[in-house]
Symmetry: C2
Subunit: 599 residues, 2 copies
């Protein structure tokens, strides 16, 4: 496994130069403390933690995995100590509500921390990551009592939290869940049912775990309109607020799975466990959306992390490994062969990873800024505008980035040849870990339906227009810039085509709703490449300006320009395939009888 090195220069580039984080933070309500110097200092400290504490546990954690026994789940060696350091450093409280012990820093800053921790050690990062989702849910929907009892403990890091949604028969389709909640005389509820795939559902990092559980009240309407949300602790809080007697729930087993071995994926049995209602009866799914958006951005980070880790590993290897001579003649004549980084196809693999990692960082940070504004924007108008963009960008970030992040991890492994398939180098672990990203928190297919069906077509394309307007403005501003032509021309063309394709799909969906599902994944991937084109064009512009100003960081800015050029000439053309296939029609999928798939 490569030693993770936080890409601080690029993080700074995206934050300050692309997204003007200084003015962004200055304009947020309550983020007055987030001065540029302070943010720099926090990121530097976070990088050290990720590099020095988490990265060394990534490979050993995969090998050892979690172990289950009746008394609980043991995390791999070093995980508990790392978590203690994390709590000591005050990291769990970074972006949390100051009324309950949080530091009140913007949530986009928390995203930077999640990126560094998650790239260094994804399995470990999921423990605080899931907790973060539970924190957000209680912050927004919990009662004052619930906040005092649970939120303060989770914000301090003393306890962690989970989200219990999935059951054996239902994942994407939560409307069919069966876990029951029976009201007790004391205002609490008895929760009974079995949840599966509960990440971080049981572990030995803390002495209590706060489960946020979806369940049905007696007589609740069928489907998604009859789901309520409950807080159900592993240990009931004692009088003094500490973890008291065990509640009626336990982890029945953990899954053996392809990757993320160091994060326990738990089957959770709730046997009349005591829980308390969060928010209104039967409105659980609405409350859950808060968590889901956070979790989706959180999962998008996994795509970024996989790309960054694969890039770091494979660039180092490609400089070091000697094989064959450059087709145009020896580049390293004193040795028996050239380093493989001289070969164009190796460079194609490295540049694909670089374009994905840096593009992903830009997309995630941009999305996170929208989330900041939704949470703490100063005017209703800017909050509303940000919310629309956030809704549009979230499924793209989640599905597109996990898809291309996985591709990137696989390329990172491919650069190593046979050595990549061997566990020693850590590249195959990166592929195995990354693979889950396309599945959990809503599969690529589910995100694509959300994007095309719910976000774009249900708003008559308004949510797309909210984004294409930004692109249009950028293109117009740079239309006379000769140096920007290779970026602005294709970007403007894609932006126009994006709207036209959407119109066509809208028309065919009016005739047959199945057309939405038949086009959705191609539409989502197309949209991802379009958003990346916008981001890479902006990054190219910044680099050109800096070089024109005579920046001393020529290497850095030239690399940005070169990567943008690579993106436009070698990745954006993938839209040519998606633009055709998204219009192929539902009949090409639905005409086949079920029994004909295998004969």
């Amino acid at each position: 496994m490569p030693d993770y090195k936080a890409p601080l220069r690029d993080i700074k580039f995206v934050m300050s130069e692309l997204l003007n984080s200084d003015s962004h933070y200055a304009n947020l309500e309550g983020a007055e403390d987030a001065t540029p110097d302070m943010i720099d200092a926090i990121i530097q400290e976070g990088a050290k933690f990720a590099e020095q504490v988490l990265s060394p546990l990534n490979q050993s954690g995969d090998r050892e995995g979690c172990t289950w026994s009746e008394s609980g789940v043991k995390t791999p060696a070093g995980f508990k100590q790392a978590y203690s350091k994390f709590v000591e450093g005050g990291w769990p409280s970074l972006a949390a509500d100051p009324s309950y012990g949080g530091q009140g820093l913007p949530s986009s800053l928390g995203i930077v921390m999640s990126e560094m921790n998650g790239t260094a050690n994804w399995s470990w990062g999921m423990y605080p990551g899931l907790s973060h989702g539970a924190i957000n849910t209680l912050e927004e929907h919990g009662t004052e009592d619930q906040k005092q009892t649970y939120l303060t403990k989770m914000i301090s890091g003393e306890w962690t939290g989970t989200m219990c949604l999935t059951e054996a028969h239902c994942g994407s389709d939560l409307g069919t869940l069966r876990t029951k909640a029976e009201p007790n005389m004391d205002g609490s509820y008895s929760i009974t049912g079995t949840k599966i795939f509960i990440s971080a559902g049981e572990h030995d990092l803390t002495d209590n775990i706060v489960h946020i559980v979806l369940a049905r009240l007696p007589g609740a309407p069928a489907g998604t309109k009859g789901i309520s949300l409950f807080v159900v602790p592993k240990c009931l809080p004692a009088q003094d607020g500490s973890a008291g007697e065990r509640n009626g729930l336990s982890c029945g087993s953990i899954e053996h799975k392809m990757g993320i071995h160091a994060n326990a994926t738990c089957l959770m049995n709730f046997d009349g466990a005591k829980g308390w209602l969060i928010g209104a009866e039967n409105k659980g799914l609405n409350a859950m959306f808060t968590f889901m958006n956070v979790a989706r951005i959180g999962t998008a980070i996994q795509g970024l992390g996989a790309a960054e880790l694969g890039l770091q590993g494979s660039v180092a290897y490609a400089k070091d490994r000697l094989a064959m001579r450059a087709l145009s003649g020896a580049k390293n004549p004193d040795s028996y062969a050239d380093p493989i980084i001289v070969h164009p196809d190796v460079r194609r693999m490295l540049l694909t990873q670089k374009a994905i990692a840096e593009g992903a960082r830009a997309l995630i940070y941009m999305t996170a800024q929208k989330a900041d504004i939704v949470q703490s924007g100063k005017t209703e108008e800017e909050r509303k505008a940000a919310d629309e963009l956030l809704g549009f960008l979230t499924p793209i970030a989640k599905a597109f980035l996990t898809e291309i992040g996985y591709e990137s991890a696989s390329l990172g492994m491919q650069v190593f040849g046979g050595h990549g398939y061997v566990s020693e180098w850590g590249m195959e672990q990166n592929v195995r870990d990354a693979r889950i990203g396309m599945i959990y928190e809503g599969t690529t297919g589910i995100q694509a339906l959300d994007l095309l069906g719910r976000k774009v077509l249900m708003t008559q394309g308004e949510s797309l227009k909210g984004f294409t307007k930004l692109v249009h403005t950028f293109c117009k501003e740079n239309t006379d810039n000769e140096h920007m032509k290779p970026f602005v021309e294709p970007l403007a063309a894609i932006n126009k085509e994006w709207g036209e394709l959407t119109m066509k799909l809208g028309v065919s969906a009016m005739k047959n709703r199945e057309e939405i599902g038949a086009a959705s994944v191609d539409y989502l991937m197309y949209s991802g490449y379009a958003v990346f084109a916008y981001l890479w064009a902006q990054m190219a512009k910044i680099a050109q300006d800096k070089l024109a100003e005579g920046s001393t960081e020529e290497l850095f800015y030239n690399a940005k320009l070169q990567t943008a050029r690579f993106y436009f000439t070698r990745m954006l053309p993938r839209t040519r395939a998606h633009a055709v296939t998204m219009l192929a029609g539902a009949d090409t999928l639905l005409d086949m009888p079920e029994e004909a798939f295998i004969i």
Copy 2:
């Protein structure tokens, strides 16, 4: 893991209906015994072996893996018994030389067996698979004495064989290998060096293993022109021909790797081991090419197997698993949800796998027929023509099929949602196992250089023309067939564009040889989709004809037509991206300074 069911109907379709295997076999020298009835009977028996003996050991083999100790390598429970049954059934000798105990059946029939065995249990299939490569090498290049001593034992299955090429510092670049061969007084050689990644290098299935080893003689020229080939047995043959005293070689360790856990990947130490020269001094690499072509078709089968296994698993799951309602209204109103096979995007994933699995079968069997003719064609002219097509198709089959086979395995897993990531269902094992296909026996990048550089451009495009002529003839024959229009028109367009793109690349490669490596992988993938278009158009034609003739197998032939339609509308458009990116130019890859990849 799904219970593997050999797709006998499709195997028969490809063999008899697409590739006219009856007349093909009738025209081969020495294949007179291969009557249609006999071939059917062999395939039926082979299917039973794969389904009943190998398939049940696939998942347990992955879990248990191989274990190394100083005394050797233990294969997982049941592997040795399965191998004994394989030998008892006479399977190792199927396509081998009758002079040394073989049954002399055409090698393309062996490919069908390899497909069934490899799909049922890839790791197990590699033991006889590697042996097959060693057999071919000795058949073609061994002395009579070597054949009597080793070949007969390998053909009977009593011993197995391996290929020892790779060393720690060299895989793709064999010219730099360092293993030494010092001549002894008795005509033998002492082999000293360390080989890595030796599949099936050590195991407990047989009491001897015959290693075919690349090494350098004293004073041999540098590079590939100084490599010789040796046969080096684990145990020296005793007077009576049985495995005698241990030779000076041992397995030092086995690799921990992403997948194919049940096949031992060995580090082999040769410490003055006794070996004998195969073929001429310093001509080892030439002799090796025989093995390599066999091994490449063998590896292409892994792509097919991964696609077929994923398809079988995910179709069954998609019919069984209930989630959500069809967008156009409930299809299964009596239950709480519809089976997910009603959803267009699930069908997109299933049809992609189906188009890949069935297209791959067609491509491999077609390639295998060319190999039959090279080996046993009756005229020099047909042997030569087949050899050219074989050389052209082999890198495409190897790289394209392992790439899209891996994609297919990943889609098979995606259909399962979260359950796909869990080991229980076997779909994640399929992904892990399939991943090595793009690496060993020459990576995708190496195959692509072979195709574009060595095969196509070095023949001034003649080797491409050998294939496009076939396509052109087919298009011309069907130009007036209205029903074939949706297939013939795009096929003719691709066929024309293929030549034009090749011309353009030829021109730019004359100016700068780096352009070859800059375009090669896109060119290979484009070529794969083009070959598939030809095969799918032919399969559509056969299906249309059969339906017009009033075949009672309407479901089967309609499914072929529907899958062909899916391929043309939803997969062939991927060429739109590759056609653009292959012309992007080497400068988009080479302009970036090495130190700028990570800053």
